[in-house]
Amino acid sequence: MTTSNKSSEFTAAEGRSHVKKIIGIWLVVAIIADYFVWFVYGPHMPPGAMTDQARGQQFDIKVISVMAIPVLLFIWTFGFYSIAKFRGGKDRPDGYYVKGNVKTQTAWYVITATLVLFLAGFGTFELIVPAGAGGGEGPSPIWTPSTPVKLVVQVIAQQWRFTYRWPQFGGMETTSINLPINTEIQFDVTSIDVIHDFWAYQLGVKADANPDVNNVAFAKTLQYGRFTVRCDELCGIWHGAMYNYGKVVSQTQFYNWATQMQRQNASVTKLLPKFALTYTPSYTGAGGGYYPSGDPNGTAA
């Protein structure tokens, strides 16, 4: 094997020159990329700003991006520079004999650890501030909104649709969902068969719908518009078709819609099982029949 490496071929000055070039190139491209990400693309990043939670997620994506992109660009710059400059061949001597560098390695450990710990702290802060960040917190949420919850919506998932119950409107059940603007909303998400997931994309809300579990998530609406609801956990054959749409409307429009639905559905509401946080499918109730979990045989009903 070729082992004609001589230290004179690899001077310290030459090494410093390479380092300066790499850092110079990296700094320029990293600043341009971060500017573009924060100011140009940032305001349009998913999932938008329809709710406080969605806005928080968008902010997190922006912050992580402006931190991650320079890391990615540094490795690219270093890698492509090395490919361009440090080429060899079968008839050329071996490379620079160096097995480590304490300063470089220490700097790398410190910088990566600092970045990671900052991101963990930042993520935790962002998780707590917007009340769970829109994720399902289970039956006993620990990050609750600072303003009182004004509307509770129960999301019941089943193969393969979502229905919504409204305890503040007589426990009525609807197949569509409208929400009022500027309102703190609590979603109580559950399932009556397998695991589903309630993903209201533009609202920044995602909570698994588990049978016999009440999974609570919060959102405060900030913008009017339509939002998409999709199931986000594989739930069987028609999982791909389990979606619908909702709207954020004015408070007056919402109140009018809800009271109208309450009157319209009154006769059906009487037949429904009593409102509960979770339900269990009836042993014989094929076709969507279900009862409160304290009464799985439906005796009381």
Binding site: D60, G100, V116, K206, A207
Partner: protein, 646 residues
Amino acid sequence: MAIKTTSFASGGDGGRAVAGEKKGFRLNAFTGLIAGGLGYLFGHWMGNAIAGGYQQVIGSGQNDIAILLGFIFGTIGWFLGLGILNYPLKKMAGIEPPLEGYEFEPGVMKYFRFTLDNKVVGIQYLFGMLFYFFTAGLLALGIRTELLSPTNHIWGPATYLEIVGEHGTMMMMMMTSVVMGPFGNYLVPLMIGSKRVAFPRLEAAAFWFTPAAYIILLSALWQGGFQSGWTGYAPLSIQQGVGQDAYLFSFALLGFSMITSSINMTATIINYRAPGMRWSRLPMIAWGMITVAFTMLLSVPILIDGLYVMGLDRSVQTAMLYAGHGGSSFLWENLFWFFGHPEVYLLALPGFGLTMEILPVFARKPLFGYRTAVTGMVGVAVLSFFVWQHHLFQSGMNPDMRPLFMLTTELISIPTGFIYLVGLGTLWRARMRFDVPMLFMLAVFFNFLFGGITGVYVSDVPVNVTVHGSYFVMAHFHYTIMGQLIFAVMGAIYYYAPLYFGVKLNEKWGKIHFWTMFIAFNSTFLPLFALGLLGMPRRVFEYAARLQHLNQWVTVSSYVLGLSLAFFVVTFVWQLAVTRPKSPLNPWQSRGLEWQVGYPIPPGNFDKIPVILSGPYEYGDPNALPVADLTPAEPSAVGVSSGGEI
């Protein structure tokens, strides 16, 4: 056909024959298939006899007990038919059986038999792995074809989900299990200077679990499939038809394969290192294998427990995973991901091992920061046990654990970053040679960077609300697994073909393969990040019309990726079977011990146990000692650990 069957003394002296030989018919995969089929029929009959009158069987027309007993007896038959159980059964009967040894046997029939030669087992694994990979790859093309249109369907929702489940399960479980095989089994004994592995029967049995698992898993397609995906979440998996039994049983078989393989690998590396093979000289592939083996040993039993519970729920109507009847669907999620997340690193660690092994050879430099590299791999392996709940951030489980799991998940970036430091340090002022293996290794770093950095997004709980369960996550793990492991494996195949087959694969064809695969891979998976951020969930056969163009781009790119891999298969088989371009010995001028033994490698790997004199990565040091003395006068005089000779 005359077959040599020899026996050897116990211990580490490899295949030295100590008893005579006998001739006659020897069991093989074909007799295994026949016995396996008969075993399945027997088990199925027994299941019907036992449970045919059960209420739930009569009511549903579905007898999971018969199916599972069929699989159990089918597997026992497969093992009996292969002759794997001959040795332990005879031992139990008080008969001292002859040990089948390592005598060189020409031809290809040895690859269809239970064999104790680590190199034969390695090649069995290599072709098995490629076969499983390409099967799952074809299924992936089926998925992408369905997604050409948001509303017009090729397969229909049931078939689509069957394909999705088969693809995911085969890629994750088959690749996971076998990735240690082609390189660990073949190379580790050679790299550490041993004549054999510690437990050759376990090593060989670990491989022969995999064809049985493959057949059983594919059989699900003829039994209605399973629509739970590879994650098998309950109660959906309890609700499914008998195809789900194939899922759980084949997964369990692979679990046993992983455990047996890991026991052997761990014992081999700890106990069978040659004199002078200190831990600080251990090649990176061996570090990759021992870290992955420890990870498997601790995580896979949890998976098997979970599958056992699922089997009981399905067959004898326990309700451990079924909410409302005393169980909880959270149980399976925790058991599965306690295995599942370390598993992701089971895939990454061997890939890193291969990359860091091959990089210095083509950089013509020592590996930069050897201890940092080892710390990185060990750190990843250890931390991988503390991150599983990040898959369940939105599940509704105890929310106050989320900051902890966010922290542990992000901490894993630190040891992963060590590996990048090692990679960049090795390239620094190198004399790079851009042969095909090097191109693949550079691509490993390029691709994994996307997977690693997007992992930070996924681990952040607020961002996870947007990206969990979406195509963003799918792109993330395809970058970490296919972008890293598969590229590393491909590079390693080009690199080790001269050692395995005496063939140097054509550079021009290899570069065509590399560039088409690299471009098509990125063209396929990079847009998936955008699809996920734009709100497309995984495993759906319908999606928003506004996402059609991106999906079509991805599908066409995936076809190019498929063609690139098909090109590799054709050229690889052509060169191995027809043209056989002869390779010079050690064509890459590697210092690795495995390259010093010549070709063909003798059945016992080394004539004498070598004495290791220096590390394998001392490129550029004109005063470096050779890596080993292959003909030491008195190996025992060195006074270091046994090195495989007892």
